[in-house]
Amino acid sequence: MIQQRGAPMPTNGSNAPNNAELERLRGIARQMRRDIVLMTSEANSGHPGGSLSAVEILAALYFHFLKHDPENPSWPDRDRFIMSKGHASPVIYSALARSGYFPVEELMTYRKLNSRLQGHPKHETPGVEVSSGSLGQGLSFGIGCALSARLDNKLYRTYVLLGDGECDEGQVWEAAMSAAHYKVDNLTAYVDRNGIQNDRFTSQVMELEPLSDKWRAFGWQVFEIDGHDLAQVIDATNQANAVRGKPAVIIARTVKGKGVSFMENNPDFHGRAANKEELPVALKELENG
């Protein structure tokens, strides 16, 4: 069974999602936030902040755009989603479970011995395209997928999610240069611009701005959006997918820890889970949010 037939290729902004579709996706996003907070809390480790910031991007991709088949994860014509910022594994595990790749209950095995849900993604997990966690490698991998599609005259599309701190890695820019050189226009990249990396705010660790100018200078078409506004995520993705002759990147301005007040914009929750006292507070906020 092929789930989530993708939206047809847009030619203009006329295929904006209707309110019912947006409401459906918002509901999925709420569920994903609960999954992320619960599974990291159960594991008492993991990276909730950068998972929560990417929820709308993954909700839009997995439940609106991707042509994929959870019963046949290696279907050759599937769209590819590459989780380059591998530490945010909870958000992709939630999306995969809610898509039907494995039971939702399995999320509670995250980071535990003998689990298929490793701390950082491994390709053995159904639906995970590539092992990641060492930053900077996913865009290169995605370009390989996209160039294969071109060689085989296949129509699948490759989506890659990068972190903003990840853009410190030199390999990201090697990949960016090569995607423009080879005019890779069947790939869409996202940068989860939540402004926080492991130690501190990105502006304190390593200044990334002007980030959009950097991507433009490397030959990419750049879209800048509010990464928590599902309508904007969908609209920008449609526009990015329509770009021809060059690669496209969506810089999604997001809030680290989005949806849980004490996690929001708090570097502490890059790599720490809600403890027993914090968990009920977080869940309650997400219910009301």
């Binding site: 900077g136 996913g138 290169s140 390989g144 160039l147 090697e174 090569s178």
Partner: protein
């Protein structure tokens, strides 16, 4: 003496083999890093430009991209010099390829000190240690041109990640065209009961020359060509140790982590045996290949000396 009737640069044999494979299999793609004339990958690139990707001096991108190609059904060959194709992108090889068990073939030329005049930064003497440390990788060091052709074909036909190590200089041809390389199998080139020389790459020819010299002194050596470092033919190593009671390993690599270390590991577990190591013990320098082999102790003469020494230690 070994009849050095012919020599061939293994890298040139590689380029021709790759082109032939490309004609037979449309899934083969080749990635290069701005050294495609030197690696002879440009032979493939000229005939199949649409399946050839020069990524510039950006080896990290090349390795992860190759894994993306492999995940979509392609058989990517990554080509560059050994020093740029192993140490520099090691983490990309580890995470994007090895942990993924991706069907990527890394074929590196200009390995070892025989790269010559370019000096120490260009001389890869750590690559076998790095590449054999990766649990899913196959690692091959062909002894000559015919074996290079066989090894490259085997890599293309066998699922999983491969590292093949080739040289810059012309290498004596010791095999005829009917040679059949087998992954994970040692090749016995000489038999003898006094000692065994286990060699790989360009040191195989030196080992044969040493064995011939030693025979004139009444020392009979078994010679094993251990082109397949991983998987390693542990049975052949154990059998050689039981039969001859003394082992010399010979390789154009740092003494740590290469063929000698692998053989010693097997013997420690199976048949503890006196060993000598013909290998590099420090970084190289600029010079002609033959000058460097002499200065750094990697000639037939040095192999012979090691055999005489290890025989003194036999129990």
């Amino acid at each position: 003496m070994v009849q050095k009737v012919a020599t061939a640069a293994t890298r040139e044999v590689f380029g021709k083999t790759l082109l032939e494979l490309g004609r037979r299999n449309r899934d083969i793609v080749v990635l290069g890093a701005d050294l495609n004339k030197s690696t002879f990958a440009n032979l493939f690139g000229k005939e199949f430009p649409e399946r050839f990707f020069d990524l510039g001096a950006a080896e990290q991108n090349m390795m992860s991209m190759a894994s993306g190609f492999a995940s979509s059904g392609k058989i990517p060959f990554c080509t560059t010099f050994a020093v740029f194709g192993t140490g520099r992108p090691f983490d990309q090889i580890r995470v994007s390829i090895a942990q993924q068990n991706a069907n990527v073939k890394i074929v590196c030329t200009h390995a070892g000190i025989t790269v010559g005049e370019d000096g120490a930064s260009a001389q890869s003497i750590e690559d076998l240690s790095l590449m054999t440390s990766l649990p899913t990788f196959n690692v091959i060091v062909p002894a000559d041109g015919p074996e290079t052709m066989q090894a490259v074909q085997a890599a293309a036909e066998t699922k999983g990640p491969f590292y093949i190590r080739l040289s810059r200089s012309a290498t004596p041809v010791i095999h005829n065209e009917s040679h059949h390389f087998q992954l994970g199998k040692a090749e016995q080139l000489r038999d003898g009961s006094d000692a065994t020389i286990i060699a790989c790459g360009i040191l195989v020819a030196a080992a044969l020359e040493a064995a011939d010299t030693l025979r004139q002194e009444g020392i009979n050596c078994r010679v094993l060509n251990m082109a397949s470092l991983k998987p390693l033919d542990e049975d052949a190593i154990e059998a050689a140790a039981r039969r001859t009671g003394a082992i010399v390993t010979a390789e154009e690599h740092y003494i740590h982590g290469g063929l000698g270390s692998l053989v010693a590991g097997v013997l420690a577990r199976t048949e503890p045996t006196p060993m000598e190591f013909v290998a590099l013990t420090r970084y190289g320098e600029s010079g002609k290949a033959e000058q460097l082999l002499e200065k750094y102790g990697l000639t037939a003469k040095h192999v012979s000396t090691a055999v005489r020494k290890v025989i003194q230690r036999k129990r």
